[in-house]
Amino acid sequence: MPPQSILRGQLLAAAVALGLSTSLSATAALADQEPCIGNSAAVTGPAAFSGQAIKMGAEIAIEEINAAGGVLGKKLRLIQYDDAGAPPRGVDNTRRIALADKCIAVLGGFHSTVALAQVDPVHEIGIPYMGVWAANTKAIENGRDPNFMFRVSAKDKWVARFLVDEALKVSKTGKVAFFYENTGWGNGALPDVKAALAAKGKELVAAETFNWNDQDMSPQVIRARDAGADVVIVWSLDREANQILRSMDKASWKPAIVGAWGISGNLGELAGPLANGVRVMQTYSFLTPQSEAGKKLLAAVEARTGIKDPKDIKAPSGIANSYDAVYVLADAIKIAGSFDWKKVQQALYQVSRDGLVAPYKPAFDKADPERQDAILPQYYLLTVWHDGKLIPLKGSPYDK
């Protein structure tokens, strides 16, 4: 055989061997997950604070779990990805976490639009997804069976009922207006709020929408005022809620305001005294009497951020949800006795623990599609803005 064809033959053999070995390792890869949890959240962009909170909560939980021996004899890791609130990046990150990093589960982020986009790839691949913030109802109640989307956070459907109850409690006339941002989160909440009101035999007197970065809400405020509303339910982020408050101020209109947790960041700083008395739904606060686990988490958060006063901790709900979610996942891994996606998904229905935010007994219920959410509405918390800080409503000057 001339030297040239020897070389060709060797090359061919090498190529075949290489092809075989890659295809072999690909099958092996699917079977062997790594002891990691991948998070896709907004670490940059306007909601960067949310990604930081989620990352901190998850990291603290993982440190504690590893200090106690890890899971199945291995140390758990967090792999952080940034989706900047963009759905395509969330989808890309999901695939990366599952197929490249081979993690056991995906931890969710802040944006409901991203969570909704992740439903498809999560089920295509069959990797468990654990939401920790984004509250859109349909992201988790997505009609799939088996459902790989779980959540340790609030659910808009329940938040809507919770806020409507509160709104009707503070309203004198029973006339409620709704202000919601023109996003997946805001638009998704509109039917939830309408349904929650309808269950009480009421209707919205005004439903007003706005876009991110809108600088003036006078038209919306004037319409809601002229419709006679005395309570406004707000589904917004801090920046836009500040514009709503200022436009109300300009229109000399002072309705009571109850908001979903988008306005739990720095509204008090932005709007100053105008924010006083604005009620906000939360899942967790560091200002209530803390459990042992709560004290431990608080100490860890203070050590990481250098914050001295718990009132200054931003996004406590995000931190606590993420912390609990990682513990729930670790429990499921231990019950499954494996890092296998399918086994962990099944095991999640058997998790039962006393969490920081709520008791999860059980965390999820396979028989009830509504119970892919671990935090039940009776554990939601009402807080209120007072002099720039978000404090528990109970015992505040507004608690009447």
Binding site: A42, T44, G45, P46, A47, A48, F49, S50, Q52, N182, E208, T209, F210, N211, W212, N213, D214, Q215, D216, S218, P219, Q220, I222, R223, D238, R239, N242, Q243, R246, D249, K250, A251, S252, G265, N266, E269, L270, G272, K314
Partner: protein, 291 residues
Amino acid sequence: MTTVVQYILSGLAIGGIYALVALGFHIMWSSAKAVNFAHGDTLMIGGLLAVYLLAAGLPLGLACLVAVAAGGLFGLVLERIAVRPFLSQQGSVGWMLTTIAVGIMVESFATIQTQGYARPLPSPGVVSSVHILGAGIYPQELVIPLVAVVAMLGLRALQRHTLVGRAMRAVAHNKNAAALMGINVNAVVAFSFALAGLLGAAAGVLVAPVVQASAAMGVLPGLKGFAVAIIGGITSAPGVVITGLVYGVMEKFVEGYISTAAREIIGFSLMILTLLVFPQGLFGKREVMKV
């Protein structure tokens, strides 16, 4: 009646910002036949820097002045590194990409600094609202359109009565001829970008107490300001200012009487229609490009 007055006043406040931004585009285009697409971000630089300088202990007035000056510096530097290298080549559009790129970088940096949170800038102009014919408005908001008009008049005076202003007009008219007359074209273009930067940062400082300073605060005004500059006729300073104010008021009426969601659809549809009828913009002069 009160509602109509409210929409006009609120619209003028927003429109004043569009007008100031558009005026910056006008200044840059006139001298360089190129603009800084990161111009919206000069608003953010002005607003956020004022917040940070204030937090660092500077008095409010000084913090605002330094922030405005920083905007001018940003315009100057950006012209040198992202615009001038491309203008020497005929028909090069590299400056579009480079200015957008710088804008994205600056915005990302601001996002990291602020963690995405908006920051308040205190001002005596937003302590309490005043009422005009029953419509409520902050004094700060009333000042914005006035500043836009004053800036436009000031620009006109500058162009008529000062040497550098006349040089700007000469360069706008014909770059090569101006150069042959001994005008330092590069310096004039750099001056224009710095002036536009000053105006942009001033707009940011003015609007920050009302809308809060945030990394993304300049994005929408930047885009709308450019749209306004095109509709108004980018070659006419009074044209872009009037169009800016009218556009702001028009937006409020669409929000008030149709819906908030329809605002951009109607606004940008009108823009396309206007351009179809007046390709040079409402007040723009026809430009002859010699190739």
